[in-house]
Amino acid sequence: MKYLRGMLVVLILWYIAAFLLASPVIPFPHTVLMYAIGQFIPQEMHLHLLYSLYRILSGLFIALFFAIPTGMIAGRVPALDRLISPVLYLLYPLPKIAFLPVFMVLLGIGDLSKIILISVIIYFPASVTIRDGVKEIPFEFLQLAEAYHLSRKQVLKDIIWPAILPRIFSSLRITLGISLSVLFISETYAASHGLGYSIMNYWVMAQYTGMYAAIVLLSILGLLLYIIVDWAERLCVHPRTNT
């Protein structure tokens, strides 16, 4: 319901802008919607959407695959944290998008360079958030684990993992927006599929309705990803997990 209300507000603002400007640069929402529905399969819009989804999900998984152990080690082992945190802080603010050409040279112009760029961008904030989550686990719980002779594996499974799960989800929410922007930029270079490619392709052909249709699809992709993250969080994280 809250998403429908949000969509309604955006649609109203869009209608007002389209009506006031009365220019082909801003078509009416219903025209764009009809175009998107009509051209979804004939113009391979569904393929563009699936390519973008594949790239962003792969990027997310690769980033978390490395960020979770990095955050856990930095959070649990102070000696290693003194080494890891400065490196994270040093590399975190770099404009990673500027390295896209480097990734393309090293990893080829295919999907891999785009996926790795997305994962590198997500990796840093995710690592820092997870590290902080591990550090904030109440000492009382770790002492409890020691008093009840839990093995390292049990401490990880029963205490650390449930305590950092909410952090993983919030880092996903924070980085999803950035990764979608990066996805768009990366798909404008050396791509033949993807919503970013599609938007730029329509733009150079001055087909504004098609361009907006692709933008709407990119926005829907973002919304769907947010909904999936929220849903997965509700499924995996107990509401009282306040550590």
């Binding site: 009382e140 719980f141 002779h149 839990l150 029963d158 107990h238 009282r240 997990t241 550590t243």
Partner: protein, 232 residues
């Protein structure tokens, strides 16, 4: 002796928790430890449980770490685990039936699948107690476990703990602020300061069913209060 401490000392980086502490505990004995705030009672229990190393003196325990269970002052129930899984923390799944039986005997069968936040303070403490008891400890260490409960709940739980500990021949060390609790629960009451044991009292009426209503119950509390004030 199941536990023996000789001239034990525990230092923190900037302060000494306790020193010159000696205590011999026989198997099955129930020892209440009382003393002013900051005299190192909790640190003593943590040292016995193996959570803190002694800085001096010796400790001999006839049982390994697995034979000792500590119940903390706060229940420390994991909020993301159901009651049954909190009790089974760190234990294999085969213990589930045993845990269910124990929770049933403690009047918690209806809340086994609940989360800790859905329970009252008394119930939470019972679950924390069940988590300690399921490990079948030889030595049970209780660190002011009932401090957060109202008097009525406290008395019920005192009765339950005492009965369970006596029936299972568990050696109990209970740290408490309450003289009433110390006399009711302890077959021996040890008063400590951070310079060691300052007074000891044998409770001859420990096994009596009507202990709470006996005159001696109040006399012992008065004696302890007198010694406590004298040691300040």
């Amino acid at each position: 002796m199941i536990l023996s401490l000789t001239d034990a000392k525990l230092d923190y980086p900037k302060t000494t928790a306790f020193q010159h502490f000696s205590l011999n505990v026989k198997a099955g004995e129930m020892v209440s430890i009382i003393g002013p705030s900051g005299c190192g009672k909790t640190s003593l229990l943590y040292a016995i449980a193996g959570l803190l190393p002694l800085s001096g003196g010796t400790m001999q325990r006839a049982v390994g770490n697995e034979g000792v269970a500590l119940m903390f002052q706060q229940d420390r129930l994991l909020p993301w685990k159901r009651v049954i899984n909190n009790v089974l923390l760190g234990l294999p799944g085969e213990k589930t039936d045993e845990a269910e039986e124990l929770l049933q005997s403690m009047g918690l069968s209806s809340v086994m699948q609940h989360y800790p936040h859905e329970l009252s303070g008394g119930m939470r403490q019972r679950v924390a107690l069940a988590r300690a008891l399921i490990r079948k400890p030889n030595i049970l260490l209780l660190d002011e476990p009932l401090a957060s409960l109202d008097e009525q709940q406290r008395e019920v739980l005192q009765n339950d703990i005492k009965e369970y500990v006596q029936n299972h021949s568990i050696t109990l060390l209970l740290v408490t602020h309450s003289l009433q609790e110390a006399v009711f629960m302890g077959s021996r009451i040890v008063m400590m300061t951070n310079k060691g044991v300052s007074y000891e009292l044998q409770n001859q009426l420990h096994g009596e069913a009507n202990l709470r209503t006996r005159d001696e119950f109040f006399t012992m509390q008065k004696t302890l209060r007198h010694h406590m004030e004298a040691s300040r």
